[in-house]
């Protein structure tokens, strides 16, 4: 029933011809060029996704592992978002990830129903049709009432947790980290006995990007909790680039704010950044098996711009 309702909304929208060919993107498209990225594939330059046999898969696909994708600052409705979504679907067919975490700015430009179609339901329709679940966190461009949008799986809450096997995800609202949320976070972290604790939210605590930079006030309050209670990995968006930072007090911090938006050449040179990418859009696929987290960051043109394996507790 739900699928039918979404289908008819999308068909209706298409019939109205409301999809604009324009991209509404802030920066011109440029070829993907990672900075300091290891082992970059340069074979694929097409904007069309490759067939499964051509994909450059860097994660091992262990049986019974937890597999998911990551997108951030995605909801522009522009052509680049659609192209990233196509790449994601190509990888889903190979990897079989069954959920996606969203790092905020899920719907830019207001909460009109047509925006939900053009900036979420339509680009990710193949993933939604395949039963992939999206777990959203809120960005500064999101209406907090998105928490009630069922396809974002927030259960009506601004912040929430969910568990997949031995991995617990803490989806936070970094727009409004009030004392109530801080207490909630500490209690949930303290009570969690998950092997892997993964935090995600919009505003980055550490960030080599020039445009926004890190939220040092937020960092001063929640990074100590992450360190105290053994959070392993943190994903954020907001800065419209990709960054993998060198671990800070044993925690791996990623920024992925370029799954729709892009701030070209925004990355400043910094020793804190392990790998950065600021010339095109990207998304991540992640696999967690036992004590290892494998990840791969893929650009719009299909290049692998970063990949590695992280060891829990190291």
């Amino acid at each position: 029933m739900r699928t039918h309702a979404i289908f008819f909304r999308i068909v209706g929208y298409l019939l109205l011809g409301a999809i604009s060919a324009s991209t509404q993107e802030p920066t011109p498209d440029q070829p993907a060029t990672p900075r300091t990225a290891p082992a970059v594939s340069t074979a694929q330059q097409s904007s069309l996704p490759a067939s499964a046999s051509q994909l450059d898969l860097r994660i091992p696909l262990h049986p019974k592992s937890v597999r998911f994708a990551v997108i951030g600052d995605s909801g522009t409705g522009g052509s680049a978002q659609y192209e990233i979504a196509k790449e994601m679907e190509a990888y889903r067919e190979l990897v079989g990830f069954d959920f996606v975490i969203m790092l905020g700015d899920n719907i830019y430009g207001g909460d009109s129903p047509k925006n939900f179609v053009r900036k979420f339901e339509l680009p990710y329709k193949p993933l939604l049709d395949a039963g992939v679940k999206f777990y959203a966190s809120l960005g500064n461009h999101d209406n907090p009432n998105e928490r009630l949008y069922k396809l974002f799986n927030m259960g009506g809450e601004r912040y929430y947790t969910f568990k997949k096997n031995d991995v617990t995800f803490f989806a936070l609202d970094s727009n409004y980290m009030d004392p109530q949320q801080l207490s909630w976070l500490e209690q949930r972290l303290r009570d969690s006995n998950a092997a892997w604790k993964i935090g995600y939210f919009h505003h980055p605590l550490f960030n080599g990007g020039k445009h926004h930079g890190p939220d040092v006030d937020l960092r001063s309050l929640i990074a100590p909790l992450f360190e105290k209670y053994g959070v392993n990995v943190v994903f954020s968006g907001h800065e419209h680039i990709y960054e993998r930072l060198k671990p800070v007090h044993g925690i791996y911090y990623f920024i992925l704010g370029n799954s729709g938006q892009l701030m070209t050449h925004d990355l400043r040179k910094s020793d804190a950044v392990q790998v950065g990418f600021d010339t095109d859009r990207s998304f991540m696929i992640v696999e967690i098996a036992g004590d290892k987290l494998y990840f791969q960051t893929i650009s719009r043109s299909g290049q692998t711009i970063d990949s590695d394996v992280l060891q829990r507790g190291k």
Binding site: A5, N115, N143, M177, D178, H203, L218
Partner: protein, 175 residues
Amino acid sequence: MSCLVMGQAPRVNRDSVVIKDFESRVTDYVKLSKKAASGPAAPKPTDDPAKLKEYQLALAAKIRAGRPQAKQGDIFTPDVTKMFQRLIAMSFSGPRGEKLRASLRHAEPVKTLNLQVNDSYPQGVPLQSTPPSLLLDLPKLPSELEYRIVGRDLVLRDVKANLIVDFISNVIPAS
């Protein structure tokens, strides 16, 4: 030392009276908002964003109808405003002040809007994050309301109705 304590006592008492007055006005607003919310069907998670929008608009209309004469200063009275001015100034001049300023600069600041009580927060304008250290220093709010920063103004916003409930102008220091 005793002089200092004696000198501070009246301020503490005065602040507690002002805080109680603020909380009482907030409680009255929340009562009105809950009464309004009993009209339109309560929001439950839905896959139809049109229903969310309809609910938000209907709730905002009911709240407006319940306080048609609402104006700036109804909740942030002159005394409450003075107290907030003092609390915010203390936050920004305290040990976390520099972090607060940095947080504001990096949060994609929202430029000044033409704020009006009972207006909806404008569609498509981002909601700037409110620095968490500042939230620790301000009186706690029920979940129906939140503090937001617009330019140098502090806005009291109804979360469900997306409504500007009241605001204090020029209270946030320039960063």
